[in-house]
């Protein structure tokens, strides 16, 4: 391996062997065979890495596919990304769509598009405003969800969990609401999960089996079978809570 790391750019169609690079830019269609280490990886066309990816910064505005684990400081997705191995990021932001087949860990996680995760999502801060589907546990100090579509996670746990409906200006809400319904396919903007545990919980439009927490607020549109709370519980008139228990 040479001392000086190479920078490579693929702008037509090309293949590249794995290895260490300074900067890799793919603007046409490119494929990296094997593991790749680089400071920067930009995909604006379509790109695929077949092995492990260890990169400082990843930006995807086209379509990116990763066949192995991805370890990255900062990752931005505005197109689409598919990650077959686990994803470990310091900061992850997506406004497009992505699919991770394994676990996702990040210090800061933000998605305003839609995403699917086959494993757990763990973050210090988790923010989502689109739709998502998490097969495993969603765990973060701070979970902030602005329901912008169908959202689902097997379980949610953390310190502060805040789920709210998308706030729209009152005048345009009827119109945009209708539009959003068309866009989100059926118009269901809700969160479904089996269990939510946290110290401070605020929920809207959430369907859950059990909610456990210290200070719990069940807002409009919720259907919860059982709420167990330690300090306070507020339930909105437009919410259904079958069972309440103070512990």
């Amino acid at each position: 391996m040479s001392e000086e790391r190479r920078s490579v750019s693929i702008s037509g169609s090309g293949r590249l062997g794995g290895g260490e690079y300074q900067r890799v830019a793919i603007s046409g269609s490119g494929r990296i065979d094997g593991d790749v280490t680089a400071e920067e990886l930009r995909i604006s066309g379509s790109g695929r890495v077949s092995g492990r990816t260890e990169v400082g910064q990843i930006a995807i505005s086209g379509s990116g596919k990763f066949g192995g684990a991805v370890r990255v400081d900062e990752m931005r997705v505005s197109g689409s990304a598919k990650i077959e191995g686990p994803l470990d990021a310091k900061e992850f932001k997506s406004s497009g769509s992505f699919h991770a087949e394994g676990d996702v860990a990040a210090e800061y996680f933000k998605s305003s598009g839609s995403f699917r995760v086959g494993g757990d999502v763990e973050a210090d801060i988790f923010k989502a405003s689109g739709g998502f589907d998490i097969d495993g546990l969603l765990s973060a100090d701070k979970v902030e969800i602005h329901l912008g579509g169908r959202c689902a996670a097997r379980e949610i746990g953390g310190e502060r969990i805040h789920v709210e409906r998308q706030r729209l200006g009152s005048l345009s809400s009827a119109l945009l609401g209708g539009l959003a319904k068309v866009l989100t396919g059926g118009g269901v903007a809700e969160l479904r999960t089996t269990q939510i545990e946290g110290d401070e919980i605020h929920l809207e439009s959430t369907i859950a089996d059990v909610v456990r927490g210290s200070r719990v607020e069940i807002g409009p549109g919720c259907h919860i079978r059982s709420v167990e709370y330690a300090e306070t519980l507020k339930v909105h008139d437009d919410a259904v809570v079958k069972e309440r228990k103070k512990s």
Partner: protein
């Protein structure tokens, strides 16, 4: 596995005075092993339970150490990862009552003149010193070879994740007027059952040994003061695992 005493998550939070946020955070940071989360369906829905003694001990340790160490470092100190590069001063092992010149020579012949040994060597020393009383020389060697054989297979990680016991066993076999005693070594999770003809010479709780070392390392920057009432100092150095654990707790609580 035998029915371990379990404690529900809610009870853990109440008893230890911690929040959901802390528990989830510690889990994320790898301070509480995934396998301790036991899910059970109860009449109130899905609930999570933990092995009672383990979780209480672990949380006490985290609470006692979290102010001095960043959470990310704590994981390395008290759980899975063992930093292979760490070295343990011989003086520390002496304080633990683990230092034995004969054992030292068998465990780490090359470094014996050094002031420090690797964490692996300290671990082997710790285990062997607990066997020294009851075991014969060839049995000690058998144990050492068993441990060494598993070293590459991540034994230390497995010990801190699952908790493993080491059993030194003897069995007498007689045939055609000749009788012989054979020694066996087994590494297994708690609660192993052996046939009635087997004599269990010693059981060593390996996670106690490892935690003892790590705890001592974690406290290495502190001045070694206020140790006077430590029962380990004047008690038998080859005490059972439980004694070690008790004094661990006591030191941590301070």
């Amino acid at each position: 596995m035998d029915e371990e005493k379990l404690i529900s998550k809610k009870e853990v939070l109440e008893k230890m005075g911690i929040s959901y946020g802390q528990l989830y955070r510690w889990k994320r940071k790898g301070l509480i092993p995934e396998i301790w989360f036991v899910r059970r369906s109860t009449f109130t829905g899905q609930e999570t339970f933990f092995p009672r003694d383990k979780i209480i001990e672990r949380i006490e340790r985290i609470k006692a150490m979290k102010d001095e160490h960043p959470l990310d470092d704590l994981a390395e100190l008290i759980t899975t990862q063992v930093n292979a590069k760490l070295r343990v001063a011989l003086a520390k092992l002496e304080r633990l009552g683990w230092l034995d010149d004969d054992l030292l020579r068998t465990c780490c012949p090359a470094d014996a003149s050094d002031e420090a040994v690797s964490i692996w060597q300290a671990f082997v020393l710790g285990v062997l010193s607990r066997l020294r009383r009851a075991a014969r020389d060839e049995e000690i060697d058998l144990v050492r070879r068993t441990l060494e054989g598993e070293r590459g297979a991540g034994l230390l990680d497995r010990v801190s994740e699952n908790g493993l016991n080491l059993y030194l066993l003897r069995k007498r076999v007689a045939s055609g007027g000749i009788s012989a005693q054979i020694s066996l070594v087994a590494l297994t999770e708690e609660g192993a059952v052996f046939d009635p003809e087997i004599e269990v010479v010693t059981t060593v709780d390996l996670s106690t040994v490892l935690q003892r070392i790590k705890l001592d390392l974690a406290r290495s920057d502190e001045a070694p003061s206020g140790e006077a009432p430590d029962g380990d100092g004047n008690g038998t150095p080859t005490g059972e695992g439980d004694a070690g654990r008790e004094s661990d707790e006591r030191e941590v609580k301070r």
